[in-house]
Amino acid sequence: MTASGTIIKIADVKKDYILGKAVIKALRGVTLKIQSGELLAIMGPSGSGKTTLMHLIGCLDIPTSGKIYLEGEDVSELNEEALARIRNRKVGFVFQQFNLLSRISILENVMTPLMYAHVPVKKRRESAEEALKSVGLSDRLTHRPTELSGGQRQRVAIARALVTDPSIILADEPTGNLDTETGRSILEMFNKINGNGKTVIIVTHDPEVGALARKTVHIRDGIITGID
C-alpha cells in the first residue's frame, strides 16, 4: 500500500491511571506516525499499554500529556462532546467482546452510528443494509445479536464500524473470542477493508495477525520497543 501522508501522529504521549492511591503509568512516552492506508498491528503482552494506546487513538480517552493528531487535528485536549463527534466521523471500532447492543436487531445496531451522525432514517437503513450485505449478513437483518454465532457477531461489528465510512478502523483483539478458522476469515475481511483504502489498526497478541500486517509496532511496559 502506498502511503499518502500521515493520518495519525502521536507525539510523546503519556497516560497515567489513578487506581486508589497508586498511579499506574500505562504509557510512558509514545511517539508514532501512522500513514494513511496502512494496515498496522500493535502487539504486546497484556498490561503493555497497547489497549490504552488504541483508546487514545480512537478518542475514547485523552492523554495525560503529549499530543495526538488525527488527520492533522489536535484531539488531545478536546472535551467529551467534540471527542464523541470525532469518534462518530473518523473512527470505526471493532472489539474483542463484539460490543453489540443486545436489545435491538443487528440492522438497528448498524444504524446506530448513523443516528448519532443525524443521517435521515431512510438513508440510515439503506447504508446499514448495504454494510451488512458487504459482510454477508443480508438475510439476518432482523435477528438479535444473541441469535448469531461469534463470527457473525464480529461481522456485524465490522459492518457497524464501516457504515459511517470512517478513515480509521480500530480493532482490539478482533479474533480473541473466535476459533482459528473464523478468526482467519475476519482477518481476511480486515485485509479487504484495508485494500479499499482505509487505515486499519489491529491491537493483538496473535502472531497470525502480526503476519498479515505490513507493519507491526511492538509495545511493552508503556513504551514502543520496536517497529518492523
Partner: protein, 395 residues
Amino acid sequence: MFFENIKLAFKDFGSNKLRTFLSILGIVIGVASIITITTLGRSATVSIQNQVSSMGLETINIFPRGNDSEARRLFTPELAGKLKDNVEGIKDAVPINQTPMLLKHGRDSYQANVMAVTDDFTDVFDYEVESGGFITEDDNARRKSVVVLGAEAASKLFPGGDAVGKYIRIYRKQAKSFRVIGVMKTRTASMRMDFDAAVYVPRNTYNQRLKRIRRVRNYVVGTEKGADVLVVSGKIEAYLFKLTGDADSYRVISPATIAGIYTGITKTLNLFLTGIAAISLLVGGIGIMNIMLVSVAERTREIGIRKALGATPKVIRGQFLIEAVVLTLFGGLIGISFGTGLSYIITVFLKWLFAPQFSAFLLAVLFSGGVGIFFGLYPAIQASGLQPVEALTYE
C-alpha cells in the same frame, strides 16, 4: 433519534414488565387519585348546582330567627309591600305559612302541610299545574273553600286519579270541606318546602277557616329578571338590619348562597386531597429515580458502546430522560384510566352526574411528564457523565 429513544424505552420496559409496573405504581396511584378527586369534585359541584337551579336560583328565603325578637314581630303580612318598596330588584315577596293537618277523601287519608298561598306562588317557585288550575286572586279575595293538591298528596288521596272537582275534608279541630280545583306537577323539594307532599289553599281562606295568621313564617322573594340574586339578597339584609338593628334576628338565604357554600367546601376538600395526591406523586417520582439509577448502572456497558459509536453526553442524557418521561407518562395514562373508571363508578353509586374535567386530564399528563423530567434528570446526568473507556470495560 427522538422516536428511536421512545421505541427503545418501550423495548426496555417490555423486557422488565414487573419491574416497570412496580416502578410506575406510585405515579399510577398519584395520578389516579388526582383524577378521581377532581372528577368527583366537579361531579359534586355540577350535581349540587343542578339541584340548586332546579329550586330556582333566583329566589331568596327570609326567615326570622329566635322567638319574640324584633324580627319576628317584623314578619307581618305587610312586610311584603315594604320589601318591594324599599329593595330594588324584587319582583314578588311571597309570605309562607303552613301547618300539618289531616286530609281525607272517602277512606283515603293523608297527613299534609297545608300552605296558605296567593296567586303569585307558582310564579316565584316556577311551579306548574298538572290539571285544573291554581289559586286565583279572586279565590283569595272571596275566601273560597278551594284547594290545590301537590303531586304526592293527590296520588295518596285519589289513587284512581281524577281529583279535580272532587271534595276533600281538612281536619282542623273539625272537618272542613274543600273543593279540589287543581293538581300540581311533581317538583323537587327545596328551601324547607316539600312541594309534592303539600296542599295549597287561598291565604285568606286559610286565615279564616283553618288557622289565624298573625305572623308570616317566612318570605320567599322572587327577583326580577336579570337582577343579581346575591346583590338583592345583600340589599334585603341591609334593609332588615335598618329595621331591626340586630343582624342575628333574621336570616336571608338563597340557593345561590347555598351553592356558594358547597362550592367552597368542595374547593377546600379538593385542595386537601390534591395535597395527598401530590405527596404520592412525589413518592412515585422517587421510585422512578431509583429505577432509573438502577437502569443506568445495569446499562453502563451499553452507554460505553453508544459513546464509542459517537453518542455525545447530551444524546445519552436525552435517551435516559426520554425513558424516564415515557415511563411516567405511561404511568400517568394508566392512572387517568383508573381514576376516571373509579370516579365513574362512585358517581353511579352516589347518583351524581358524571362530569369528568378534561383540563385535569391534561394537567395529569403534564404533571406526570414533569415528574419524569425532574426525577429522571439526575440519573440521566449520571449516565451522560460516564467515561467511555470505563463504561466499555465495565463488567
